[in-house]
């Protein structure tokens, strides 16, 4: 029995690890969307973060610089999106798609010389505790610092949005950019900041993949996680805590299907994998039917171009 329990502990630990990039990227995108900007470029920003993090690690041999650099590269690439949508007033959907396509291409180009290089071991915290405590050990201990950060992030995001003045400003801008502007809030600046923050988090999410989760560079290694993160934000109806829950469900499904494949379980894993997307659609339908519900749950100005009258 004790074996089973420790196995479940390890299983939960691996589910947590697989949900980290989703939490990071979705939390970042959530802030962006809360300010009224729909950035479909999550996948592109993540993959750029993944390659820059890995490349910097190889070049500098310094994981700290690598992590920081991945976030910075996420910021830089999201700046393209910010400039186009906020300063040149381009359509959010088209620009975000272009960002994803561009990011995947650019990452492959940049990563050409990094394919096949083995990654570096990322420091693991509290390794001894992980081994010594059954069940809770593998769940609570023996993870990278990024995982702990990721699990704190939804709570921090929630605190930021609900309790701080800046968070209030972000929500206000997403609710009504016109009113915000009339209140003297610099809408464009706020949105720029949220876009760049989203970029940084997506960059970090990518770096987690290439430095920690599967420490190596593989072309297109984000493998659709950016799109899942986007779905997750909708699934969570733009609430950070629900992002965490959703990410664990989505991550759990990924891990479960691996194990089910391993033990030859006959339920088609693809149906499990499709579940998150189907659930997202159902959530959308449920909140959209009632105009009040959708108003209270979605950033009202999401995806709309804001133009300041002079």
């Amino acid at each position: 029995m004790s074996l089973d329990i420790s196995f479940i502990g390890i299983l939960i630990g691996s589910i947590m690890a697989s949900s980290v990039p989703l939490i990071l990227a979705a939390s970042g995108e959530l802030i962006t969307e809360r300010s009224g900007v729909l950035n479909l470029g999550v996948e592109g920003m993540m993959i750029i973060g993944a390659i820059s993090g890995f490349a910097l690690m190889v070049i500098t041999d310094n994981l700290f610089i690598a992590i920081l650099g991945s976030m910075l590269s996420g910021v830089i690439i999201s700046l393209i999106f910010g400039f186009l949508t906020q300063s040149l007033l381009t359509n959010h959907v088209a620009t975000g798609l272009a960002l994803t396509i561009f990011g995947i291409g650019l990452s492959a180009m940049l990563g050409k010389n990094f394919v096949g290089i083995p990654g570096k071991e990322f420091p693991i915290l509290f390794l001894s505790l992980r081994e010594s405590i059954p069940f809770f050990g593998p769940i609570l201990f023996g993870h990278s610092i990024v995982l702990y950060f990721a699990f704190a992030l939804p709570f921090l995001t929630n605190y930021f949005l609900k309790k701080t003045k800046l968070g209030l400003v972000v929500r206000a801008v997403g609710d009504s950019p016109v009113s915000a502007s009339n209140q003297g809030i610099n809408v464009i600046l706020v949105r720029y900041c949220c876009i760049l923050y989203g970029g940084a988090m997506c960059g970090l999410a990518g770096a987690y993949l290439s430095l920690i989760y599967t420490p190596q560079w593989i072309e297109n290694m984000t493998a659709g996680r950016g799109w899942i993160a986007l779905a997750l934000v909708v699934f969570a109806t733009w609430s950070p805590i629900k992002v965490l829950i959703g990410a664990l469900i989505f991550g759990g499904i990924t891990i479960l299907q691996l194990h089910m494949q391993a033990i030859g379980f006959r339920i088609p894993v693809q149906f499990l994998s499709a579940l998150p997307y189907l659930m997202t659609i159902i959530v959308l339908v449920v909140i959209s039917r009632d105009s009040r519900k959708i108003k209270l749950n979605t950033p009202t100005s999401l995806g709309r171009i804001f133009y300041k009258e002079k």
């Binding site: 479909l40 186009l84 291409g105 180009m109 940049l110 693809q270 994998s273 997202t280 959209s288 009258e309």
Partner: protein, 348 residues
């Protein structure tokens, strides 16, 4: 107006310049690399036929999308509609895997179109009757369809003699698109694309439906005032769009591929969005744009062979084209915006 059709060319030129700069930064000779990208691939007949082969699905899908985009419906799930069309069309082809007959290919094609149409109806119905955001729904469905395809080719439809490879049986010859020339992969699907161009031009510019699409896209207020049936139109444009994407899917599996497997489309459904924009939602513009964008696919493959650059680099160009196009639209947008502002101020 002239500017409207001129900016795509500016975007293309800027993209090529931008590509050159990126090559230079990465340590390649920019002129040389660009030559491998944009000239080498089409310097022989085979290359040219490959260009047409890749432009065919892009053109088909973009034509369909132009109906949606023109009427302000944001269907970005063409990749899913393509996949589902391929599944339905492929399913029919597999039914007849050991039979021959002239009637099989038409059945496969029609099945594909219906499949795509059905799949596009989901976001359309949810939009019209549940007020759901079609961008998110159509996007989610892309992954659902890809997973369904994955399930089918691994599970029930996998080739019994295929050593557990994730692929179906080969289709019979009667399910395959006829090849146009010996030794080239270009197939009859191109006629479907050309027919779609003609038909869409006809519908958009010569019919009452096209007129309604145009008016609704420009001003929903006017459409309401004129008494157009808004909901029906949303359903119709999504169906057209889905059917085109479904046809593109069938064109691929019944054309160069000849069976179902996981990788039936290198994201044609997403790239076609770029094509639709670059072609200014105009049927003939889309032909041109699909050739340009197909060249980035082809160039990437050539560059991979000669320069050992990963073929994903094609997407760098595709992304850049759209960036530059959108940015150059700023000029146009600003002109329109100023006009609108004047109107508002006059009114109040």
């Amino acid at each position: 107006m002239a500017l409207y059709f001129f900016t795509p060319f500016i975007a293309i030129i800027l993209t090529i310049l931008g590509g050159g700069i990126i090559f230079y930064i990465l340590g390649f000779n920019p002129i040389e690399s660009l030559k491998f990208y944009f000239i080498t691939p089409i310097s022989n007949l085979y290359g040219f036929s490959e260009l047409l082969l890749k432009a065919t699905p892009l053109c088909l899908i973009a034509i369909g999308l132009s109906f949606c985009f023109k009427s302000n419906n944001w269907n970005i799930g063409a990749e899913g509609q393509l996949t589902f069309g391929a599944i339905v069309g492929g399913g029919v082809a597999l039914l007849f895997y050991n039979q021959e007959g002239f009637y099989i290919l038409p059945l496969v094609i029609i099945a594909g179109a219906i499949g795509g149409m059905f799949f596009a109806l989901i976001p359309a119905i949810l939009k019209t009757y549940f007020n759901t955001n079609e961008i998110l729904v159509s996007l989610m469905l892309v992954y659902v369809s890809k997973l369904l395809l994955d399930y089918l080719v691994v599970g029930p439809w996998s080739n019994p003699e295929g050593f557990n490879f994730p692929e179906t049986r080969q289709f019979s010859d009667s399910s395959r698109m006829p090849l146009l020339f010996e030794g080239l992969r270009i197939h009859a699907g191109i006629f479907l694309a050309l027919a779609a161009v003609m038909l869409s031009w006809f519908i958009l510019y010569k019919t009452y439906l096209g007129f309604q699409i145009k008016v609704s896209g420009l001003s929903l207020k006017t459409a309401k005032y004129a008494g157009f049936k808004g909901k029906t139109m949303i359903l119709v444009v999504f169906m057209i769009s889905g059917a085109c994407a479904g046809l593109a899917g069938v064109g691929e599996i019944a054309g160069p591929i000849g069976q179902l497997h996981r990788m039936i489309s290198p994201d044609y459904g997403f790239t076609a969005i770029i094509v639709a924009f670059l072609g200014r939602l105009n049927p003939f513009g889309i032909i041109f744009a699909s050739l340009v964008v197909a060249l980035t696919y082809l160039g990437a493959e050539t560059a991979q062979i000669f320069l050992q650059i990963p073929k994903y680099t094609g997407q760098v160009f595709q992304g850049m084209i759209l960036f530059f196009l959108l940015a150059s639209d700023y000029l146009l947008f600003f002109k329109v915006k100023i006009l609108n502002l004047k109107k508002n101020e006059l009114r109040h």
